[in-house]
Symmetry: C2
Subunit: 332 residues, 2 copies
């Protein structure tokens, strides 16, 4: 093992460069405020000493950590992944580090992770899903910016960046009706957002005087693996639906595979729609009709807000609706 000699500190660099540590600190955080000649000496000193800044000390002194917590329900087969990948990339590009938490479906777990994030004095927390009331209080009085994504609560805790799941459900109902489908079957993940889409779909469908809607629920997340059971359940219905509305493209993909394996043609024998416009949706055979959500835009809006917040600017708005786009493809 190499000798773990102590890390060089700001003072070491300062001594080497013949300036005070304050100047080195300024150089690091704001290079243009130091004189060019000094800057050059400091640059050289940093290289010579192999200095690595200590962000713990920095965060402690400045009371900002340049870190943001990203809390997601799942990683595998998640409809969120594009958003999260975009988020992490954009955050890194903005010089912010990401603290990742996986909440599962438990709001207790979420609370725990939020506490942890607050312990680290994160600059912002990006989350989604239900919150315990006491944690809302905690978050409210913390200086960290709280951002809820993929949803637009009536009263956001901090900022919300998402879209209306009701509108998405409603639009899908109209779309399928206009395409001539009459017996939709909804497979919904057991969560709040999916429930909103489902309820809005059903309400709109009935308003349009459509036929009976059958419903099924799967565990969160709505994933490929649920397809076998979901399809078996469909076969047991008294009357076969003509279109299946899935909570994710992964589930939709699984259903298509099952349907085809059972000898049904998609969409003629059974149509299928997904949700999220995951990369597979456009590649599946048949390509999957779905709802596109611009994850990268969500990421960008969130990060712009964080940047403004960090600069001390007051929040501009409480929620940002990034909308969604229904993409009609081959599967329905």
């Amino acid at each position: 093992m190499a000798p773990t000699r102590k890390n060089p500190t700001l003072d070491d660099v300062a001594a080497q460069a013949g300036v005070s540590s304050a100047t080195v600190s300024r150089f690091i955080n704001n290079p243009e405020v130091v004189a060019p000649a000094t800057a050059e000496r400091i640059r050289a000193a940093i290289a010579a000493t192999g200095y690595i800044p200590n962000l713990l000390a920095s965060g402690m002194a400045s009371n900002k950590s340049k870190m943001v917590a990203v809390l997601i329900p799942h990683l595998t087969d998640s409809i969120f992944n594009d958003t999260i990948e975009a988020m992490v990339e954009e955050l890194s590009a903005a010089g912010l580090n990401v603290m990742l938490g996986i909440t599962g479906v438990s709001s207790a777990r979420t609370s725990e992770l939020i506490r942890g994030a607050l312990s680290r004095r994160v600059d912002a927390i990006i989350s989604s899903g239900p919150l315990e009331p006491e944690i809302v209080e905690l978050v409210r009085r913390s200086p960290a910016l709280f951002i809820q994504i993929w949803e637009l609560p009536a009263e956001p805790v901090g900022l919300a960046v998402g879209f209306s799941h009701e509108a998405a459900g409603r639009d899908m109902a109209r779309f399928l009706m206009s395409r001539g489908y009459r017996r939709p079957h909804l497979i919904t993940a057991d969560g709040a957002r999916a429930g909103q889409r489902r309820d809005a779909f059903v309400a709109e469908w009935q308003a349009l005087a459509g036929g009976e809607v059958t419903l099924a629920t799967v565990d969160i997340p709505s994933r490929y693996g649920h397809a076998r059971r979901a399809f078996a359940d469909i076969r047991r219905l008294p009357e076969l639906p003509d279109v299946v509305v899935c909570g994710s493209d992964y589930l939709a993909q699984g259903l298509i595979v099952e349907a085809q394996a059972a000898g049904l043609r998609v969409p003629d024998g059974l149509a299928v729609v997904g949700f999220g416009n995951s990369s597979i949706a456009g590649e599946m055979r048949p390509t999957i009709t779905t709802v596109d959500v611009d994850g990268r835009r969500i990421a960008r809006e969130a990060i712009a807000a964080i940047t403004r917040h960090a600069a001390g600017e007051p929040p501009r708005e409480q929620s940002i609706d990034v909308g969604f786009r229904l993409i009609a493809r081959e599967s329905a």
Copy 2:
């Protein structure tokens, strides 16, 4: 907005409980060393003040951050996701927070992220993939434990937890040969590990006096979306292969879909094998023959090592081979 009054500190809690801050600190880190009665008073004081520990200060004073960096190439369609999800869960359970970095294919990006992690004085860095030589040096002299996963380099920088990609390639060659396949086509992601598997496969295949092996390369990660082009390329080969060896189950899945869409039966018309035993592999129609890697075991071994390292124990070994398992299913 709620009044952002200052966060209570250890001293506030101490005053409230009528003890010194040192005792409160001890209580937090090691509850059993304080007298039960005192402990109770402190517990009450923490609740009363709404104290949230400041892990930045803690980390700075103790020189350990209770944070580990996890660096992965991708999030979407990644063969790693199960491992990462397990990793994050197990780390959280062990009271460690996760700093996530997405490296892409660039080792420069990896270096940058490692520097960032070192800046935060992480207790460990979990990474995979190629490293720039200078960063190896940096990591070597840092007190953080460096763990390479999903591979077993000849000379690990710190600890390696993975399996032999050569062995995996070799075993797959033997398996396919024994099944009677004669014209394999390999679709390999453009990365080191996949390359090792490919080379070992080819070498073994030739040693077994098998027929010609055709090769193709796709971008990292080896994902579903590559399937269309990959399949089109296969059709253009002078002679159709009898089995396609894919770099991931996602790609394998895509190929099966393409093959079926083209009227080929899998495995009779064209067999397909994947890699990684992702959740879809066992659910696809036909189910996918693949290589299983125990991601959760990798996570657990890594975390056990981190825990020991944090406790000051010397490292037990340089690399841990978790092996792999070839799972024969319907697709080949």
